[in-house]
Symmetry: C2
Subunit: 344 residues, 2 copies
DNA sequence: TTGTAGGCGTTATCAC
DNA sequence: GTGATAACGCCTACAA
């Protein structure tokens, strides 16, 4: 039990009524300068702090926004969270983070937690919650989504074009002379994963190349699966000169798998990721990847949400995925003399 | 404005009083089975959800705990946050994360935010907030700290022995035959940093080796500073055969710096980090480092805090730092033939 | 401009 | 067991 100073005591100390004290604290309304000072003085003296719970009940606004993320320690969403935090800075709203771990039931209970608080608005990061549920929630409070597309709420969904991003990777590799590009995909249930795979296929098709099932393998977006994927690909015996992973984490795993086999990147094998995690600048070699403006999207989501809370209209925003060419990709054949076979 | 179903409506629908409805919802007290069922039915029918704000006001407990972290996207604290989340699971308490970014004023306002909500308890992760302030807060509500030591509150501070951890690194390197061990430290204002430096010095002393200023350089715990540190060390012209970084992030940077110079790890140079970030298993080569049980500490912090909330006594807990020997360290001289000079 | 009083949704304290 | 009713701390008409 936290027996705090209440507005009542402040008012008494300042010799004014609670309402006057309230007005001073809340700011907006005009109050006589002398009384205002008296109140502020009392606040300082007593160390008063507005009880946001009480204010929330009285005003009907909790001054908190719910953020449904999938993993609080995810390097990918971490950047988005940072952007959201930044965007909320100084707005008076506090973020309330809950994690869904990509499991529908867990997301559902996390959403219930947020609705039960209740929060004034929500930002949804990815996840598998059905569109219907989100639309339902959006009817009751401002809702923004990052990294997913909700049919009917397109304007409040912040996404990058994963198809295009994946295309640009393939094009880059093709330009470097690679024709046999292995693909380590994400879980097919995941929208980003399917979009990126689609980009890979489309770019190959555009280049007049056949899609080869034998070059594709499915991972789960985690490092270990990238490692295993490389092992599997090598065991298959099909030849390839570049690997494209559907995200950076799997690319890290793939990198290690190649390292274990003594296959050099990029001399023997080009490697590309997707996401441009903070770490990708510092891998050895730095990873060619696709940068999504995750921080910016978090920031934009927060700002758009604040607009909605202020009943201002928000319009659709587009974010571009940008290919970051670093040192994990190289022209095919340039170092052919030192090249080892990638066949096992 | 979220016009929600209220207890009142539920009670009316169930044909009972609000008090009875409240009792059913809250659980504890006994209620006639038939009325209980009627209430639960009404809850389902109307889709009632307890308003935690109102409950908080009435009960004096907000059922939320404040977590002061430094960076919501920090890979190090991320693990702790995950542990805390897990530890709170099913307890009814929700975590409220705020970030201080290692800046005293920002931490102070973050703490104010938490106190103003108000939260029922707090967990402090690192930071530079003065001990006095934390002690002051701890008098009003249960408080646990991870990664810092508050004089007078030792029992509620979860830490690992950084000195010992750093010692074990040096010992490992000495055993491998390294005598010239460069050290990339963290900011001196940082307690973990000074402890680790102390461990480095102490281990050298114990081994009868002189401490060489020229082998030590100060970074800021970020990757880029590790890269710069390697550059500086090489420019100094002093020779060394191993690098010990005060955290993994700087070790990543150092790794890249060495890579750029064509210095191989571990053939030409052994490299050790500290923290065992999730990524360190997947760098090339996997990094020898010191594992701190961060997830476990987060979990333990949450559990201890729940105990305190239940007015149960908590006792001091000790966590051990464990040297994880991986592939970035090797015996000196073993690959001497292929060795390049590390002098520039 | 200021104060009084009612209400926000729930829990807690009483009687019954 | 159950049901009125008074808090909880604040905001906000409404009246002065």
């Amino acid at each position: 039990m936290t027996t705090n100073i209440t507005l009542d005591e402040v008012a008494r100390a300042a010799g004014v009524s609670v309402s006057t004290a309230s007005r001073v604290i809340s700011g907006a309304v005009r109050v006589a300068p002398n009384k205002r000072e008296a109140v502020l003085q009392a606040v300082r003296d007593l160390g008063y702090r507005t009880n946001l719970i009480a204010r929330g009940l009285a005003s009907g606004r909790s001054m908190s926004v719910g953020i449904l993320t999938q993993d609080i320690s995810s390097p990918y969403y971490g950047e988005v969270l940072r952007g959201i935090e930044e965007g909320l800075e100084g707005s008076g709203y506090s973020p309330l983070f809950v994690s869904g771990h990509w499991r529908v039931e867990e997301e559902a209970s996390a959403l219930d937690t947020l609705l039960g608080r209740p929060v004034d608005a929500m930002i949804i990061l990815g996840g598998h919650t059905p569109d219907e549920r989100l639309i339902q929630i959006a009817e009751r409070l401002p809702l923004m989504a990052v990294g997913r597309n909700i049919r009917g709420l397109e304007d409040t969904c912040l996404r990058v074009d994963n198809v295009q991003g994946a295309c640009s990777v393939v094009q880059h590799l093709l330009e470097l002379g690679h024709h046999r590009i292995a693909y380590i995909g994400g879980p097919t249930s995941h929208r980003d994963a399917s979009d990126r795979l689609q980009g890979y296929r489309q770019a190959l098709e555009d280049a007049g190349l056949d899609f080869d099932e034998g070059l594709v393998i499915e991972g789960d977006f985690m490092e270990a699966s990238g490692l295993l994927a490389v092992e599997s690909l090598l065991l298959r015996g099909t030849s390839f000169t570049a690997i494209m992973a559907a995200n950076d984490q799997m690319a890290y795993g793939a990198r290690l798998g190649l390292f274990r086999r003594g296959i050099r990147v990029p001399e023997d094998m080009s490697l590309v990721g997707f996401d441009d995690l903070p770490n990708s600048t510092f891998t050895t070699p730095p990873l060619t990847t696709v940068r999504q403006p995750t921080y910016e999207m978090g920031l934009a989501a927060a700002q758009a949400m604040l607009k909605m809370l202020a009943r201002e209209p928000v319009e659709a925003q587009h974010f571009h995925a940008e290919l970051k060419i670093r040192e994990s990709t190289a022209r095919l054949g340039r170092t052919m003399r030192g090249r080892r076979s990638v066949r096992v």
